[in-house]
């Protein structure tokens, strides 16, 4: 139907042009390498920072109360602000301050913005995981002679992480797409390059080429997620 309709040649030329694909793809692929570096780097920071925030938020030590409040505000703020706004705010705002010692590389600033946003999501995932481990496990850790921190490290957190692997992977998939938001800072990543190509040729094929690259990482990740979820349901 679609292929035989009157407008199809136009559609094909605008979105599926083999020529436009061939000329734009190498550049887009190069830009996508930056996306990959960004989401891998940010994910590493996010997994560590998120866990740290979650541990602070779930601790019951009275002395940590002020830090606990700060951690809660951190999560509320960065989770509640649109990621694109954060990227703008940090990407343009920090250099505008002209403070010495502050990074001015837009890629670094973009990575900071994404890390702040995603660590707040991931902290909440970890927190749910930690809360789901029955207190009797902590009791057993303490009774074994471990300190509270050791009990967290060897008993609670390993079980919590196992339990929240699916939502963690889900957030990772979101991050893999959201790295495209850093294009607003003029960073030459895949989406930005595709956009420039499209604007100069009025052909949308480059955008589709970029979409294929994002899908090439997110779809396998989604299958891995399915696999883990299915295996966990068998074990449960």
């Amino acid at each position: 139907m679609v292929l035989t309709s009157e407008g199809w040649p136009d559609v094909q030329e605008t979105f599926f042009s083999a020529d436009a694909f061939k000329t734009s793809f190498p550049e887009i692929l190069k830009g996508f390498w930056l996306d990959v570096k960004l989401f891998v780097g940010v994910e590493i920071v996010v997994l560590i920072l998120g866990l740290l925030i979650a541990v602070i938020r779930t601790s019951k030590v009275p002395a940590l109360f002020p830090i606990r409040v700060l951690a809660a505000i951190y999560c509320d703020f960065f989770r509640g602000v649109p990621v694109i706004l954060l990227v703008y705010l940090i990407g343009f705002g920090i250099p505008a301050l002209e403070l010495s010692g502050m990074p001015d590389d837009p890629v670094i600033l973009a990575a900071i913005a994404l890390s702040l946003a995603y660590s707040s999501y991931v902290a909440e995932v970890y927190r749910a995981g930690i809360a789901s481990i029955h207190p009797s496990q902590s009791d057993a850790g303490l009774a074994t002679g471990l300190t509270r921190i050791q009990t967290l490290r060897f008993v609670v957190i390993p079980q919590a992480i196992r339990r929240v692997r699916p939502p963690l992977l889900n957030d990772f998939i979101s991050l893999q797409k959201d790295v495209a938001l850093v294009s607003v800072l003029g960073i030459a990543e895949a989406f930005r390059i595709a956009q420039i190509e499209t604007l100069s040729t009025f052909n949308y094929t480059p955008l589709l080429a970029a979409a294929l690259l994002y899908l090439a990482v997110t779809i396998p990740m989604a299958r891995i997620l399915d696999h883990i979820t299915a295996r966990e349901q068998i074990n449960a």
Binding site: D139, A140, A143, T144, G145, L146, F154
Partner: protein, 254 residues
């Protein structure tokens, strides 16, 4: 009161009270556990047996009174609870094994991380203990691959790995199918023969009779009767004790 000299006492409980909200769970407990002695705590569910054991291991904070371990007050706020727990072994009703770790790692975690033993040393000793409790060859299994009775014996091994001064056993057979109770009780019997000092909360009266030197009957957070198993179980003085034993008898638990 006469009795062995105070230096014999491993655990002394003096006027211990504990309330959860308005519910008074322990209403002033006095109890002394001497070296090589086994005392069975009996009483209905909710009489405070578990809470008392948890208070001794400092898993629950007491409201009033003192608990002493080897003559030292351990319920003082200045005492490091971690150091106290390293001197005691606790076995839980529901085993509470670490499900993400192998059997041997469950046993050696405390030895390595809390007691600073080398991995090799801890593994060697864990293997010996597991062998002794009929778990040889199961070192690399995960807890969920074992039966309840085997899991509880792993938990017992885990508690022993830290060379505890005394063992606190909290209804260690209550979560087990009847046919699996025997192996766990055999293990405890074995420990008693070896001279382990133990405080045992239990519903198994025949076991209490056989293993315990003394039986203490808890009723509404107080020890209202205490003595030799023969006397408490055969000729209880208090009507509450008689009623409790009658109910167990009717339920076929004696």
């Amino acid at each position: 009161m006469t009795g062995p000299s105070i230096s014999d006492a491993v655990i002394e409980i003096q006027g211990v009270t504990k309330a959860f909200g308005d519910r008074q769970v322990l209403g002033g407990i006095d109890l002394t556990l001497r070296e090589h002695e086994a005392i069975a705590l009996i009483g209905a569910s909710g009489s405070g047996k578990s809470t008392l054991l948890r208070c001794i291991d400092l898993l629950v904070e007491i409201d009033d009174g003192d608990i002493l371990l080897d003559g030292e007050v351990i319920t003082d706020p200045s005492v490091d609870p971690v150091a106290v727990r390293r001197r005691l072994g606790f076995v839980f009703q529901a085993f509470n094994l670490f499900p993400h770790m192998s059997v041997i790692d469950n046993v050696t975690l405390g030895a390595v991380r809390a007691h600073g033993e080398s991995r090799k040393e801890a593994n060697e000793r864990a293997r010996q203990l597991l062998e002794r409790f009929g778990l040889g060859g199961r070192e690399n299994d995960k807890p969920d691959q074992l039966s309840g009775g085997q899991q509880q014996r792993v938990a017992l091994t885990r508690a022993l790995a830290g060379r505890p001064r005394a063992l606190l056993l909290d209804e260690v057979t209550s979560a087990l199918d009847p046919e699996l109770v025997g192996d766990v009780l055999d293990a405890v019997r074995d420990l008693k023969q070896e001279g382990m000092t133990m405080l045992i909360a239990t519903h198994e009266m025949s076991f209490a009779r056989e293993v315990a030197d003394e039986v203490a009957f808890l009723h509404e957070g107080r020890i209202i009767e205490q003595g030799s198993p023969e006397r408490i179980l055969a000729e209880p003085e208090r009507p509450e004790t008689r009623r409790f034993l009658r109910r167990l008898l009717a339920a076929g638990r004696i």
